[in-house]
């Protein structure tokens, strides 16, 4: 038995940083991304705990009083509670409505993006690994779909399917899977040529194992980045559809619907009904994009320090 030679000292004696620690350090390097993350955390908190922190349940019609309609921000209600951000035409407290609206918007956006990610990733990996005709068919569909404006596709689908939360999620999935498919295929094609895949083939590990154990985990970072951006897009698209009246029913308003609802009063000076939901939407989308951009930079090995 030979003694193991001296090449055995730890490689990173100086500062043992796990990749995750390095990732965190890199992420928090940017102040604006950190701010984005903080805002996003607050938004998520509000959305998740909306039923417990809202002053009012905006869906409970029995609690609404039409006499409270269109009150200015700060006005007190009949029973003495202030409406910090005013009320809408039905007497709903805008703050509560925004909290619940965030909840709906985020739920729809995240669910749709997640389903689209599963579908798109499967398609992309299939195309990249098998190549040939399968790849051609999948990628042609992707190309065709990406050449239409997504709002157009969603509008047509909703016109056919009708309204409802499930319908809008289906429409969003149909719009978004193509982005995931394209990203996944691109990354998978690059990763597939790396030597560790050849090594796995040389060890006769079997196609399925190579794809799911070796190829797939290495395609994840860019997909995570696309995911954040596409969640923001899904939220924006849902808001647009709701604004156009094709989204969710007014009894369960999302941010887009709240904006649409107040839009008619905008010109009569009752700005708050549209304005505050708009601000909430803006903050949500901007913060997600900031976090997504920073993720992209941090996960890009070429920019790594």
């Amino acid at each position: 038995m030979t003694a193991p030679d001296t090449a055995l000292e730890p490689a990173l004696a100086a500062k043992p940083q796990t990749p995750f620690q390095r990732f965190l350090a890199d992420f928090f390097d940017s102040k604006i991304a950190t701010a984005g993350l903080v805002v996003l955390a607050i938004i998520l908190f509000v959305a998740i705990f909306a039923p417990w922190i809202s002053p009012q349940n905006p869906y409970d019609l029995s609690k609404l009083d039409i006499m409270d309609g269109r009150l200015e921000p700060g006005t007190k209600s009949m029973d003495g509670k202030p409406f910090l951000l005013g009320t809408d035409d039905q007497g709903r407290d805008m703050l509560s409505a925004i909290f619940y609206g965030l909840r709906t918007s985020l739920a729809v956006g995240v669910t749709a993006s997640f389903c689209a990610m599963i579908l798109g990733m499967t398609m992309g990996l299939t195309a990249a690994y098998f190549g040939g005709l399968v790849e051609t068919i999948i990628m042609r569909i992707v190309d065709i779909q990406l050449s239409f404006p997504s709002i157009l596709i969603a509008l047509i689908l909703l016109a056919v399917l009708g309204q409802g939360v499930d319908k809008i999620i289906i429409a969003l999935i149909a719009v978004q899977w193509a982005y995931y498919a394209r990203t996944t295929r691109g990354t998978a094609l690059v990763e597939r040529r790396k030597e560790y895949i050849e090594a796995a083939q040389c060890l006769a590990l079997g196609d399925r194992r190579v794809v799911f154990r070796h190829l797939f985990p290495n395609c994840l970072p860019p997909i995570i980045v696309v995911n954040t951006v596409l969640i923001a897009n899904a939220i924006a698209l849902e808001a647009t559809l709701s604004f156009l009246g094709l989204g969710l029913p007014i009894t369960e308003p999302s941010l887009g619907l709240l904006i649409a609802n107040g839009f008619t009063y905008l010109l009569s000076g009752k700005y708050w009904i549209s304005f505050f939901p708009g601000v909430a939407l803006l903050f949500t989308i901007v913060s997600i994009n900031l976090v997504g951009d920073q993720l992209r930079d941090v996960l890009n090995p070429r920019l790594q320090k």
Partner: protein, 329 residues
């Protein structure tokens, strides 16, 4: 012998270039001094990460943040580049000093034709008309052995092979007839026969026009065939310097000794190679004292203190408290 009657083209004194990273200060170049004389070739060898490229970048002024030259003088023909006004230094560095990189595409722009790039390069530093500039470009291409330079001028970089591209990059560096060229592993990516062609051109250039050359490489064998003097770097410092014959035939520093010993042709065929134990240290976690201590078989308590440069033999500066004076070959 170093020096001779010629005045030195470049004198580097106590150069220190450090990178201030989040994980700590990386002393990529730490107290490096050497001299290059007209018409002679200085080889700079060392392992990956020993600071060879950063030394070159420091001379030509291309160290990017978080890196900075923190100390030392770089005297080009007697003038300190650091003390010159910025635009004057840049002018010197653009025309009188040139650098050639391992990847020729660092010099060449992929979307521009060769003639456009070379003419612009001429006109950037000298007020000549296009036709003169084109003549100069053509002559330079001819000088590095590119056949039918007139046609080749109209091509794009991607239409050349790797070796040809490297020669175009060299020709671009020659446009201003620089007095000093720094070559950072320009042949590492190339094949042996193509490497031979480029070494031939560079050698001819030094001989004919008296250009001084710094040749950076990790390959001792290339240095043996090409250079006059050699500096061996380890972990940001020059550990041994001298003429090629002296250093290769009578290495004094244990690291140089190990390096030469591990070259296959120095070993009996089929027998285990002499090897330096351990691995290249990270510059962030250098052992205190001599950086080579953990891998050195001569190390003892005296090596806990960082060794200063000594001259155990005439003209043989080395950084080691136990130089290998016994062996002679």
């Amino acid at each position: 012998m170093t020096g001779g009657s010629d005045a030195p083209t470049l004198v580097v004194e106590n150069l220190r270039t450090h990178f201030f990273t989040r994980a700590g200060v990386v002393k990529a170049v730490d107290d490096v001094s050497f001299t290059v004389t007209k018409g002679r070739i200085l080889g700079l060898v060392g392992e990956s990460g020993s600071g060879k490229s950063i030394t070159g970048f420091s001379i030509i002024g291309l160290v990017d943040p978080p890196g900075r030259v923190v100390e030392g003088r770089i005297l080009f023909q007697g003038r300190d580049l650091a003390s010159l006004a910025e635009n004057e230094a840049r002018k010197l560095r653009g025309s009188r000093i040139a650098m050639i990189f391992q990847d020729p595409m660092m010099t060449l722009n992929p979307v521009l034709r060769i003639d456009t790039q070379m003419i612009e390069a001429v006109q950037a530093h000298e007020p000549v008309d296009r036709e003169t500039a084109r003549q100069r470009a053509r002559d330079a291409l001819g000088k590095v052995g590119i056949p039918s330079p007139d046609e080749r001028l109209k091509a794009y970089p991607h239409q050349f092979s790797g070796g040809m591209r490297q020669r175009v990059a060299i020709a671009t560096a020659l446009l201003h007839r620089p007095e000093l060229i720094i070559c950072d592993e320009p042949t590492t990516a190339l094949d042996v026969t193509i490497q031979g062609q480029i070494l031939y051109e560079m050698q001819k250039l030094c001989r004919d026009s008296g250009t001084a050359l710094i040749w950076i490489t990790h390959d001792l064998s290339v240095i043996a065939g090409l250079a006059d003097e050699v500096c061996v770097m380890y972990a940001g410092r020059i550990v041994e310097a001298g003429t090629v014959d002296e250093v290769l035939d009578r290495p004094l520093h244990p690291y140089t000794l190990g390096l030469i010993g591990s070259v296959p042709s120095r070993n009996v065929r089929g027998r285990p190679l002499a090897q330096i134990p351990g691995m290249t240290p990270s510059l962030l976690s250098l052992p205190p004292g001599c950086a080579f201590r953990t891998r050195c078989e001569r190390a003892d308590a005296a090596c806990m203190e960082a060794p200063a440069i000594t001259l155990p033999l005439a003209n043989r500066p080395i950084r080691c408290v136990h130089p290998n004076l016994a062996a002679s070959s």
